[in-house]
């Protein structure tokens, strides 16, 4: 296979890929007076157009992605990203629109935003939404800041946030930025929140409980109404991480069951592409009592059309510049409109069907630490294979040889050697079966040819990479220019 060099290694003095029109205004040297200028951008590449096209095309071909492979990365909801959503988002009316254009000239944009807010409210049972947060983690931050503002107004912001030990790492990290100390709640033997532990931990120093439902094991917190009761009766608020909303759309509305604040990940449930790690979007929904704390601006529908309201005295303020990851929001709206209420319910049903089909097919071959029913994802571990010296990372890497993207590894932390599998609703039975057969074959290989698994992948663009070396001797940029 051709090894694609770094662009800097393709560079040669004087090559160009872009030319500007001749400057059409009179050139004035005096406008550079009083400015410290640079002579060149040291090491900056100089390449031709065809070299750039081949460079990125070849690089792209080394990626696994949803368009090429089954991608059961648990907790990430790697579903198909519809092409039509890209098309409707690529319209000039959106692309060339400056964010500071007056509201009366961008009524289409504001209608997109307001419509999406209302649809998300209907789907989740929340009363109001902000679309500002750029991704789930910023949604958590926004939500927790609103909780803090609300409690502050009640007289005491409190000090502690309770978070289950199965939670995403972003939860404690976001709570920390809001000035809270994190106390971990241990999961019970069923993998869910232990009500006794919660009962003991929940006191008047606790601002909120952050839950994920279904949790990161794919298990529904079926006592959520009692959980909400305990939190509320002691003056706390209930935050829900909606990362796993794909399992619930049309089936369960968090806002109906005591959740005060929730964030969604539009790049998960609502199919906006993941882009290799963003841009995402993390809208936050709140119940009525918290709507006055939403970040500014808030979009309002008036008799004169849509307006942006910046005057919200109790608002937590801004969490980003301008309004939101607007193009991502258009894609999410297009997705909701092309599915309709019926279609959204089917998303939940088929994602849960696919996940359970995989779980049933692999039970016995791979260890399942928690045997409670699961929804959209299931978490196996490498416990059986470990006996032969084969770890979850080896299983994951071996899957690459079978043409499948590995599941999420080593998360949640409460399952040692975890393999977290989320197939989503968009996979064909044939692709599910191919994955199942691959997992079965690897379980067999782990017994018969463990070395083959331990040294995988064997067919990829690069062989297994030394991550320890990367961290111990960090090389974080090309330094070649120093050698010249």
């Amino acid at each position: 296979m051709i090894r694609e060099p770094l662009i800097f290694e393709l560079s040669a003095k004087g090559k160009r890929a872009f030319f500007f029109p001749t400057l059409d205004v009179p050139e004035r040297k005096d406008c550079l007076a009083g400015i410290s200028l640079r002579h060149e951008i040291q090491g900056f590449p100089e390449v031709s157009e065809i070299e750039i096209v081949r460079h990125f095309t070849r690089l792209s071909q080394t990626n696994f992605c949803v368009d090429t492979s089954f991608y059961p990365l648990g907790s990430c909801t790697m579903k198909y990203n519809p092409r039509v959503n890209e098309r409707v988002a690529a319209r000039e009316a959106w692309l060339s629109c400056h964010p500071s254009a007056p509201a009366e000239l961008v009524q289409g944009n504001l209608e997109v935003l307001k419509t999406l807010e209302d649809l998300l409210s209907e789907i989740t049972g929340m009363d109001a939404f902000t679309l500002q947060p750029s991704a789930g983690a910023q949604g958590e931050l926004t939500g927790m800041l609103m909780i803090r503002a609300c409690l502050q107004e009640r007289g005491d912001p409190r000090e502690v946030v309770l978070i289950p030990d199965s939670a995403h790492g972003t939860n404690p990290s976001s709570a920390h930025i809001c000035g809270y100390r994190v106390v971990e709640i241990k999961s019970n033997e069923k993998g869910t929140i232990d009500l006794t532990s919660l009962d003991q931990a929940m006191n008047d120093r606790v601002a909120a409980l952050m839950i994920t439902n279904p949790n990161t094991l794919g298990i529904f917190e079926s006592e959520i109404d009692r959980i909400a009761g305990i939190v509320h009766e002691r003056g706390g608020l209930l935050y829900m991480d909606g990362a796993n909303m794909n399992a619930l759309v049309g089936k369960f509305r968090p806002g109906d069951m005591g959740v005060d604040v929730l964030h969604l990940n539009l790049h998960k449930t609502f199919s906006t592409p993941h882009g290799g790690g963003g841009p995402g979007s993390g809208p936050v929904g709140v119940k009525k009592e918290l709507a006055c704390y939403l970040p500014v601006p808030v979009i309002e529908k008036t008799s004169a059309g849509y307006t942006l309201n910046f005057d919200l005295p109790k608002s937590i303020g801004r969490v980003r510049s301008f309004y939101a990851n607007f193009l991502v929001l258009i894609k999410a709206l297009a997705y909701i409109l092309s599915l309709g209420g019926e279609g959204l319910k089917e998303v939940a049903e088929v994602s849960v069907l696919n996940s359970n089909y995989i779980r049933k097919s692999l039970e016995g071959l791979y260890h399942l630490k928690y045997d409670a029913p699961t929804l959209h994802e299931c978490v196996f571990s490498d416990k059986f294979q470990k006996e032969r010296g084969v770890a979850n990372i080896d299983i994951a890497k071996r899957l690459i040889d079978y043409g499948v993207h590995p599941p999420t590894m080593s998360f949640p932390l409460i399952v040692p050697g975890a393999l977290m599998i989320e197939p989503t609703e968009t996979e064909s039975k044939r692709d599910l079966d191919t994955f199942i057969e691959a997992m079965k074959a690897i379980a067999k290989e782990a017994i018969e040819k463990p070395e083959l698994v331990r040294t995988a992948p064997h067919t990829s663009y690069v062989k297994r990479l030394d991550e320890t070396k990367a961290a111990r001797y960090p090389v974080l940029r090309w330094e070649g220019e120093k050698e010249e």
Binding site: S36, S222, T455, A471
Partner: protein, 448 residues
């Protein structure tokens, strides 16, 4: 339903394998009283053709795209080479996630590594990360990082830092015992060094300064850096118009400790404010406190070069509440577009881009300032934005321009009450001499 790949036969076989009779049985773990026992009130599904028509109609409700716009202020109209759309829209770049599995993500990882290198070269800093959300939250992350490094309660922000960036910093730090104070500006439109010297003390963690600043004026960074360093404070340089880096002396060569900014100018359309591209770069010795994803070079089992996400012990999924940031998903695809943009521009293109901006903006400023009743507000050198004070008042000018199909700029009074009658105008390489002439002509009409 759209996007479901199971046939009815497949479903039946799978349900039989699970021993269930209806898909609803799969949800028995949700107690019935908790379930939604009605259909969602969402219109029924639209076909592809209906969807396209629907969004065409929504798009027609906008009229801003028909205007000749001189709006800037943190979002800039720039050329986007054809390569950017064409290459970045490949499914192999659009549809994977964060490259957790490096062996099947070398494309994404090598792009990040190249992006980090380009950001270092542009800013003159030693290390850069894989991206942050956008300029304002990147600035907030820089302030949080400085606070972790110095542990002192005070942060000084220039009043010429983008007003929205200042608001976002406030939102991020307000619960962390950090107090912020503002540094005023001079008649040149530059940071008031005397004011800075009087407010900085041993309790200051960081000084935050934007260049070109919100008024479009280019700051003299060395003097500010010297004052910050004299008090052991870190110097954070914010760049909201990254195209300026093609020509201006890099912040790293002017004493910056951390550079944070907005990369929208590098191949990202205005898009009503997002998605954009936050970036951050800093000195190597701050690595352990650096937020966000970082790609690093390593070797595979056969000794070949490869790239991985690295130093993840800084990050939330390992360190949880002690992480350097809560960020997880960032703006990888936007960083890809910036990488294609920058590599297409190359050494000569970046310089030409910046040069045309500075020439055209100065030309427009010269023509406007020559009009009766229009005054150049600040005397400091500008990049591609400038402030003019209009005797007739901004509303009158803006109203007339709008009737002429022109969005003239930002009303500065909104964020700076002391700048009544002032507008912030942006002129870049996309504006032709004829268009600048239209702007000047329309302004003259009001004044006559």
């Amino acid at each position: 339903m759209r996007y479901i790949a199971l046939s009815e036969k497949d479903k039946k076989e799978m349900m039989a394998a699970l021993g269930i009779h209806s898909l609803d049985d799969l949800f028995c773990c949700i107690p019935s009283p908790l379930r939604l026992h009605r259909e969602l009130e969402i219109p029924s599904a639209m076909s592809e053709m209906e969807l396209i028509r629907h969004f065409e109609a929504l798009g027609r409700k906008n009229s801003a795209d028909h205007f000749l716009s001189f709006l800037g202020g943190g979002a800039y109209p720039h050329v986007i080479p054809s390569l950017v759309d064409s290459l970045s829209s490949r499914g192999e770049f659009v549809t994977p996630y964060t490259p957790y599995q490096p062996e099947v993500s070398q494309g994404t990882l090598q792009v990040i590594f190249e992006f980090q290198t380009l950001v270092c070269q542009l800013t003159g800093m030693e290390i850069a990360n894989a991206s942050l959300y956008e300029g304002a939250s990147a600035t907030a992350e820089a302030v949080l990082m400085a606070y972790r490094l110095r542990g002192k309660p005070k942060v000084l922000m220039a009043r010429t830092l983008h007003p929205q960036y200042r608001e976002v910093v406030q939102t991020y730090v307000k619960n962390l015992f950090v107090e912020t104070d503002e540094i005023g500006y001079t008649e040149e439109g530059r940071i008031n060094v005397k004011d800075l010297a009087s407010k900085i003390d041993r309790e200051t963690s960081a000084v935050v300064c934007q260049t070109p600043n919100f008024f479009g004026v280019i700051e003299e960074l060395e003097e500010i850096a010297a004052i910050a360093h004299e008090h052991q404070a870190l110097f954070i340089v914010v760049v909201s118009e990254a195209a300026s880096l093609g020509l201006l002396k890099p912040p790293g060569a002017c004493g910056a400790d951390i550079v944070a900014g907005e990369g929208q100018s590098f191949g990202l359309p205005l898009s009503f404010g997002g998605p954009y591209l936050g970036f951050m770069a800093c000195r190597k010795d701050f690595l352990r406190q650096f937020p966000g994803r970082i790609a690093g070079q390593t070797q595979d089992a056969e000794g070949r070069r490869g790239f991985v996400l690295t130093l993840s012990t800084r990050e939330q999924h390992i360190r949880r509440e002690r992480a350097t940031s809560n960020i997880c998903t960032n703006q990888a695809w936007c960083a890809l577009r910036a990488t294609i943009f920058l590599e297409t521009m190359g050494q000569a293109g970046m310089r030409e881009l910046a040069y045309q901006n500075i020439q055209k903006a100065n030309y427009a400023l010269g023509r406007l300032a020559a009009c009766q009743g229009v005054k150049r507000k600040f005397s400091g050198p500008i990049f591609n934005e400038f402030v003019c004070e209009f005797e007739a008042g901004w509303e009158k000018i803006d109203g007339h321009l709008r009737r002429k199909g022109i969005l003239g700029g930002l009303n500065l009074e909104t964020s700076y009450p002391e700048l009544k009658g002032c507008g912030l105008l942006c002129v870049t390489e996309v504006h032709t001499r004829e268009e600048i002439g239209r702007l000047v002509g329309a302004v003259e009409e009001v004044l006559q």
